[in-house]
């Protein structure tokens, strides 16, 4: 239960906003940290906390790509393959990522370690191919440096 496990954090979030519904996104991040993803129960809990209808909260998690509505691997790899990155070889890089991990973009490895996703613009086109691993940037990647990164992160 979010309300019991994160009571202090919830109080801190609510203190920042004039109305309860304004706190919906920070509370969803808390819920995601607690449960690993925005599970149906997590959404209902946040709705109750913010005095919203669960449908309204579900709409928020659906709109923003960084709220996960299904379980993910320990490390989420967001590889940008928008047009400028593609011009710098992102497509070939993504193909390598898929074969190295043995999954397609949008899937999670069987050991639950990695989730690979294709991302829209990560705002670093000049240093493509690049990815975010749980939010941390890794620039100018090659198949070799990617493999090294995976070895490191997979430890």
């Amino acid at each position: 239960m979010l309300r019991t496990n994160r009571a202090a954090d919830i109080e801190k979030v609510f203190a920042k906003y004039p109305t309860k519904r304004s706190a919906v996104m920070p509370l969803l991040y808390l819920a995601q940290a607690e449960y690993g993803y925005c599970s149906p129960e997590a959404i209902r809990e946040v709705a109750e906390l913010c005095e919203l209808d669960p449908t309204e909260v579900k709409s928020v998690t659906g709109f923003y790509t960084m709220f996960n509505e299904s379980p993910t691997g320990k490390v989420i790899l967001d590889v940008c393959d928008d047009l400028p990155c593609a011009l710098r070889g992102a497509d070939a890089f993504m193909a390598h990522c898929e074969s190295r991990l043995g999954i397609k973009a949008g899937e999670t490895t069987a050991d639950g370690k990695f989730t690979l996703r294709s991302a829209m613009c990560l705002a670093a086109c000049n240093r493509a191919p690049l990815l975010q691993a749980n939010g941390d940037y890794h620039y100018d990647l090659t198949p070799e440096s990617f493999d090294k990164l995976i070895d490191e992160l997979g430890k």
Binding site: P40, L52, D53, T55, V57, K58, G62, F63
Partner: protein, 735 residues
């Protein structure tokens, strides 16, 4: 009219009120700007881009700040470089709008091409086909061919239930958000939202129990495509096969104007109601209906409707002819003294039925005035008649400075469309709401003042001159909505009297937009009570003859040696009767109802009567004639004329006058299906407000509620009654 703005649309000069949107301004000169997401009853969002137009404003010289004129002296228009959404742009002085220029026409074609990239084009099997804005506007403005790769079409769920009563076809949805905005802004029930974005965006519900609003059916009306279909009408017929009859909903005191769509069942040869649609009446229901009104029509075609008169022979009811049944009744009535006859009439019958029934009892039979069932409501109808709303009253005119008080009533459960309209008066226009009840209702959400009293103690609360009612003093207009929950007839009357007194004390007695609004159980409680002027005393324990016309509650029937029942169904009371007369359903006949806000409205037959059932007034007249009375009313029109001549509330009204119409705003209806949705325009009659009639008698003091009062169930929209229990589609929600 200082607040008029002058502008030009396609070279036509017009003046419209300040703040009006371009799309509405164009409507006033009957110029259509195509829209999908815009709806005149919803706040504009500008997300479909279908209404793009060219907009220009007078060119201002930066140096002199003066409007620039050309050589001819005409104002030079500075056209905006990009197209503008007509649905979000208010008019401004000197504005010029082009709705038919090449860039506009091209933009419409482009928007439609995008909307159709993944639209299934399954019009031949779509329930909306024939009355579909997307279909109509594609024919009018769309590209002739699609340039999109067939393989790139997105395939989505086509039969997704959003709730028990609504299905969504995700391929047809064009993401206009009309349904979401209706639920958010009008119904205040946030159970629909968008999920995901871009091409993956879809309307979802994540609520428990899903899309389960009392007003859900309206989203199907305003859906500009065939995405939202009702469980009731889906796959039941094509719009062009349907015939339409104007009617008035009788399920609650609001009196929503409806259109009954019927279709001939070629297998049985019977014309059946396929759906109930709203009919615009801006002073009553605007363009909305609740789901009970929309889905509660199935009783009309229920298989167990009475088809023939029944006469008890050898202990069992047996089919008989009308002639023998009427003769038996009149022979019987001739043999008993008038004062040993008791008449009880239900509040579901038409005003004309009630008028003849009342005259039959007092003038022909010589009995005491009839009783009206339910007894509680009939105990205070004359008080409500005396202190009701004035002639020009309109909930839509309530706003800042006005006070709305809800006492002992649950408006959403008892009169759903009033809930929508009163809520908007409070939330959107700033009227002050005070709610007094012994429990919480949805109306409490919007209340500026809340009072609580013990169950059954509403009248005592008012008698105590509570501080909450002090707000009435400063109010511009004051409307008091009240219910009779947990009250006996006596206490309900005391409540109505004390509320009428409070209104008069605060100076609202004669104001046109102030008054009492009772939450009656049915659509013609007021009309039946007006026409009958019911007995309010105790029901006699026994009688020689009892005539029960449309009485639902067995407690409202006296024990009698000989019982006549006029009914739609073989109810427990009918099953125990000596003669049963089959009544025509409202959809099978004409007549008028008077709503809780004192509006008399007519309804028309939609299809022939079931079996040999006949309108109640006809049976009453036939009995009177057999008893020597020379009645020869040709129909409700003549009866209404007699009522209007005799009853001060109806003086000056005519049956034909109830059918008068005048232009309404916004312009919606069949010719405007692309604009306002599939609501019907009102060509049959807006009805007329009946007059207040002063009531004599001293105010009565409330008494302690009895156990019977306190254990009566709370009002609920889907409280199973004799009629809505026949709607299978509502079966799961009956309480």
């Amino acid at each position: 009219m200082a607040d008029l703005i002058n502008l030009t649309i396609d070279g036509v000069a017009l003046a419209v009120p300040k703040g009006m949107l371009i799309v509405d301004a164009a409507k006033t000169i009957e110029k259509d700007i195509p829209v999908f997401c815009y709806h005149p009853k919803l706040k504009p969002v500008g997300l479909c881009r279908m209404c793009l137009v060219e907009v220009g404003t007078p060119k201002i010289d930066p140096a002199t700040k003066q409007i620039v004129k050309d050589e001819a002296g005409a104002t030079v228009i500075a056209w905006q470089p990009k197209l503008t959404t007509a649905c979000t742009t208010p008019v401004s002085e000197g504005m010029s709008v082009r709705t038919q220029s090449k860039p506009v026409i091209d933009a419409r074609e482009d928007v439609l091409e995008f909307l159709l990239t993944s639209h299934p084009l399954d019009c031949p099997v779509c329930d909306k086909g024939g009355e579909c804005p997307l279909q109509n506007l594609t024919l009018a403005h769309g590209p002739a061919v699609s340039r999109y790769d067939y393989a790139d079409k997105q395939h989505n769920d086509k039969h997704a239930p959003l709730g028990d009563l609504m299905f969504i076809d995700r391929e047809r949805c064009i993401q206009c958000a009309r349904c979401i905005r209706f639920q958010d802004d009008i119904a205040d029930d946030h159970v629909l939202q968008f999920h995901n974005r871009g091409r993956a965006e879809e309307v979802i519900t994540f609520s428990t129990p899903g899309f389960d609003s009392y007003f859900g059916g309206n989203t199907s009306d305003i859906c500009p495509v065939g995405a939202l279909t009702t469980a009731d009408f889906r796959f039941k017929g094509r719009p062009w096969e349907l015939k339409t009859a104007a009617s008035v909903c009788g399920h609650c005191a609001v009196g929503c104007n409806t259109a009954l769509n019927t279709r001939l069942n070629t297998r049985t040869g019977v014309r059946e109601i396929k759906r109930v649609m709203p009919r615009q009446n801006e002073q009553v229901n605007e363009i909305w209906l609740c789901d009970k009104g929309r889905y509660g029509h199935h009783f009309t075609h229920a298989a167990n409707r009475l088809t023939h008169p029944l006469i008890r022979k050898d202990g069992a009811l047996q089919e008989a002819t009308w002639e023998s049944a009427l003769q038996l009744i009149s022979d019987k009535l001739k043999t008993v003294p008038g004062q040993k006859v008791v008449g009880v009439i239900g509040d579901r019958l038409a005003t004309e039925d009630a008028w003849l029934f009342g005259r039959l009892m007092t003038d022909v039979i010589g009995a005491a005035p009839a009783f009206v069932s339910p007894r509680t409501a009939s105990a205070y109808a004359d008080v409500a008649r005396a202190a009701g709303l004035g002639a020009d009253a309109d909930f839509k005119a309530l706003g800042k400075g006005d006070v709305i008080v809800v006492v002992n009533g649950d408006v959403e459960e008892q009169a759903p469309v009033w809930f929508l309209r009163l809520r908007q008066a409070v939330v959107d226009r700033g009227a002050k709401l005070i709610v007094a009840h012994h429990r919480s209702t949805k109306m409490h959400r919007y209340a500026a003042g809340i009072a609580r009293f013990a169950p059954g103690a509403a009248a005592q609360w008012v008698a105590g001159q509570p501080a909450e009612l002090a707000a009435l003093k400063d109010a511009r207009n004051a409307v008091i909505v009240f219910g009779d929950e947990k009250l006996s007839g006596h206490n309900a009357r005391a409540l109505a009297q004390s509320l009428a007194h409070a209104l008069a004390e605060a100076g609202h007695a004669d104001k046109p937009n102030s008054g009492l609004v009772p939450l009656y159980p049915h659509g013609n409680t007021q009309g039946v009570c007006d026409a009958v002027d019911p007995s309010r005393g105790a029901m006699p324990e026994s009688a020689d003859v009892a005539w029960l016309a449309g009485v639902g509650d067995p407690a409202d029937a006296p024990r009698a040696g000989f019982t006549i029942v006029s009914e739609l169904f073989l109810t427990p009371l009918a099953a125990a009767a000596d003669v049963v007369l089959p009544a025509a359903a409202p959809a099978e006949r004409e007549g008028s109802y008077t709503s809780g806000d004192l509006r008399a409205q007519r309804f028309w037959p939609a299809h022939p009567a079931h079996g040999e059932s006949r309108p109640d007034w006809w049976a009453f007249q036939e009995v009177a004639r057999r008893m020597g009375k020379d009645w020869s009313f040709g129909g409700p029109e003549a009866i209404f004329a007699a009522l209007a001549a005799a009853h001060p509330a109806y003086n000056g009204l005519s049956y034909a006058g109830l059918a008068a119409v005048k232009p309404q705003w916004p312009m919606v209806g069949r010719a405007e299906v692309n604009f306002g949705g599939t609501v019907y325009d009102n060509t049959a009659g807006l009805g007329a407000r009946t007059a207040r009639v002063p009531v004599g008698g001293a105010a009565e003091a409330p008494v302690e509620p009895t156990l019977a009062d306190l254990t009566r169930p709370e009002p609920a929209l889907y409280r199973a009654g004799d009629l809505i229990r026949h709607s299978a589609v509502l079966a799961g929600r009956l309480v």
